[in-house]
Amino acid sequence: MALTLPSLLSTSSAASSPCLPPHRTLFTGPSTLSLNRSCRRRRSGPRASVAFDSPAEAGERGGSSSGELLLEVRGLSAVISESKKEVLRSVDLTVHQGEIHAIMGRNGSGKSTFSKVLAGHPQYEVTGGVVTFKGQNLLDMDPEERSHAGLFTSFQDPVEIPGISNYDFLLMAYNARQKKLNRPEIGPIEFFSVVDPKLAMLKMEKGFLDGHVNGASGGQKKRSEILQLAVLGADLCILDEIDSGLDVDALQDVAKAINGLLTPDNSILMITHYRRLLDYIKPAYVHIMEDGRIIKTGDASLAKQLEEGGFKAVSAT
């Protein structure tokens, strides 16, 4: 389907972040990858974000097709702004283009906190560490700049916003990006042709667009987050329990949609409790989080181990 879509998607990501340093700099930093794999670093120029119309792709990705360094987290520590309680203790994580990662871990181990700190949530204060995203210091950026740079976080429990329809919200977010890229903003009528195919992809009713943001049921909220992702595009999407509250069919729809958004260049960091999701979106790396840090990293077999033996089986000793 030929969409007159955000040409932002077909242009270089350099356009969306004019101060992006050359990618070369990415490789001068510490590169203490804990993963034992061959990392094929492509030196081609910056590339497109999400390609919208790529066919669904369900195979395992990441291990053999890693691209350039996308996100590098080193020693990230954070406290809750109000209470100063420590919630992240020196987290390390590296994601390359095209990789799929999963984070698993007990309730309260800090998974959502990690995703919100990456998104720039003011509830948390970073007390140490470095986060580099596409060569830029992520921690220096406002949440909206992180979004423009290509980071999309789907929240575990996105907040309800009465009075603002899903359609208006999508349009606002879309136009914010257009503006950032010095592109003409789009009118509410034209915008429908942008949203409509995404709706279809997610098997969502058009009526959904009239409802207010995150006012729908748990499952609808999750679809709605993926709809936003589909409309806005991203280089790295963090999906926090995108599978919770979804029935089997809905999970398949959502997983299919996510796979449909994947390209060789964008990456996923998903947080989940269930292996079920990993059957649909296959990660090359699984990380276990415990008490605010990543205690173990392995391949998809770690998830299986976890399911069979519980957290004890994978806990650090």
């Binding site: 003011p122 979004s147 916003i161 914010a176």
Partner: protein, 494 residues
């Protein structure tokens, strides 16, 4: 029938007689007026009595001018005028020492020269899109049937001035004047100065499908320190099982006209009746707006009010709801936005005296200007016999200035023991809000995100308006007010 000399407190009287049967009663009721009061010569009773009373001279002068400004030949209003002039004898201008006005600065009224508004329309009506087919205009308190349009009213429904009230319903209409005695000075001034009463009468069992839009228009004609006062008055009578939606809309000109709108609406709902009341106050920014809404709810009746107030320099709404029987449903929602040097005040009182009432009140306010003020004094009183009442009261404020002036006093007073009650008062912090972060996380710039969160805050109340056309119109108004950065002073980002 209500009479001035009835000694007991009117609120303790049994339900007013919405069920009174018509013909014989009517003539009986009307008689005394024809006999005793119609050929009333001047000087008026008010003047005579006020002269001899120890009253506030400025007030006396105003009351006299108001009395002179109205036509004396409306027999159905005689009692109202008489009781009001009686009552005003004991009144003086409220000061900050009077509890109901502790936070409400009336200096705009006190420091202005006040004249009754000129009797004839002084400005043409704005040409504006019409939201409802049933429209009734009230210009400076005068009903204007020629501008009104009432195509969709069922048989038996009356909407019009008090002199046109058909005989068959005159008794009911008269009896539905509450005879309320706890009114303040403004209540009394309206009783004296109302040139007419717009009567809305819904007969037994009649459901009025289309809402009735009451448009209050004000000619202004004042100036700096000079306000033209007018006293619109409405009486809504819904007989047993009747239903109607009323939209009261004040102002909307968007200018900064100088006038004082001192209005009263009385609503009497018979057993099982239902009134959905939308009240929109977008008066001009130089104006003063004082309003009483007095509601009497018969058993099993429903009263729903949604108030959106964003206008006026001084705006005071007194809302009193009296429950006259069990099983009533009362839902009150209000949104106030003070976005310039303006005071918006709601004093509400809901008294529950009968079992199994259901009551909800939601008050929300935004103060977006450093001299803006909001006052809320909300009382819900669950008395001894109001067992199994389910009452809830919530107030939420969203300050957008560093030192906002917001006085909220929610008060849920419970005497009965078998009741379900909930209440809450919260002050939201825009900068810390999850919503603001959510917008930003989707790439929306801070200013747009703030505006959207403020809009969303108001939209919770706006969305309760039962009519889409009105919702849309007010939503776009609200967006405009929020985006108008000349009047909005948001704190700088920290």
């Amino acid at each position: 029938m209500y009479s001035l000399n009835t000694p007991p407190h009117p609120l303790l009287l049994p339900p007013p007689l919405l069920t009174m049967s018509s013909t014989t009663t009517t003539s009986h009721l009307l008689h005394p007026f024809h006999h005793h009061h119609l050929p009333k010569p001047k000087p008026s009773p008010l003047r005579l009595r006020l002269r001899s009373a120890l009253s506030d001279p400025r007030l006396l002068h105003l009351a006299e001018k108001l009395e002179d400004s109205v036509s004396p030949s409306l027999p159905l209003l005689h009692n109202l005028r008489l009781s009001s002039s009686d009552s005003i004898l004991s009144k003086s201008w409220p000061t900050r020492r009077d509890d109901p006005f502790r936070y409400t600065d009336l200096s705009l009224l006190k420091s202005s020269q006040i004249e009754p508004s000129p009797p004839s329309p002084s400005s043409p009506l704005p040409d504006e899109p019409q939201l409802f087919p049933n429209r009734f205009y009230i210009l400076d308190g005068h009903v204007i049937p020629s501008l009104s349009s009432l195509p969709n009213l069922p048989n038996g429904v009356y909407v019009g001035g008090i002199s046109g009230v058909p005989d068959r319903i005159a008794g009911s209409v008269l009896d539905s004047f509450s005879g309320f005695r706890d009114g303040d000075l403004f209540w009394d001034l309206n009783g004296i100065g109302a040139p007419d009463v717009a009567v809305v009468y819904v007969p037994e069992g009649c459901r009025v499908e289309e809402p009735l839009h009451l448009k209050y228009v004000f000619g202004g004609g004042g100036g700096e320190r000079r306000l033209a006062v007018s006293n619109p008055r409405v009486l809504v009578v819904v007989e047993r099982g009747g239903e109607i939606g009323i939209v009261e809309e004040f102002g909307g000109g968007g200018g900064d006209g100088f006038y004082w709108a001192n209005s009263v609406a009385e609503v009497a709902i018979g057993e099982g009746g239902r009134v959905s009341h939308s009240y929109v106050q977008r008066q001009e920014l130089g104006s003063a707006h004082t309003k009483w809404t007095l509601v009497q709810q018969g058993s099993s009746s429903t009263y729903e009010l949604v108030e959106i107030s964003t206008g006026g320099k001084l705006s005071r709404h007194n809302l009193h709801i009296q429950q006259l029987g069990p099983d009533t449903v009362t839902e009150l929602s209000s949104f106030h936005m003070s976005r310039s040097d303006q005071l918006l005040d709601l004093h509400s009182k809901l008294v529950l005296d009968h079992p199994r009432g259901y009551a909800r009140q939601l008050h929300k306010c935004v103060v977006s200007h450093s001299s803006g003020k909001v006052v809320f004094d909300g009382n819900i009183q669950v008395n001894r016999y109001a067992q199994q009442t389910d009452a809830g009261q919530q107030t939420r404020s969203l300050p957008l200035t560093p030192r906002p002036c917001i006085n909220v006093k929610p008060n849920l007073k419970i005497v009965a023991d078998d009741v379900k009650c909930s209440h809450g008062a919260a002050i939201s912090n825009l900068e810390d809000s999850q919503q603001l972060f959510y917008f930003k996380a989707r790439g929306i710039d801070t200013q747009t995100a703030r505006d959207a969160v403020v809009f969303s805050f108001g939209a919770e109340v706006l969305s309760r308006l039962p009519y889409e056309a009105l919702r849309k119109s007010l939503a776009s108004d609200l967006k405009g007010l929020i985006a108008d950065k000349e009047t909005i002073h948001l704190p700088d980002e920290i």
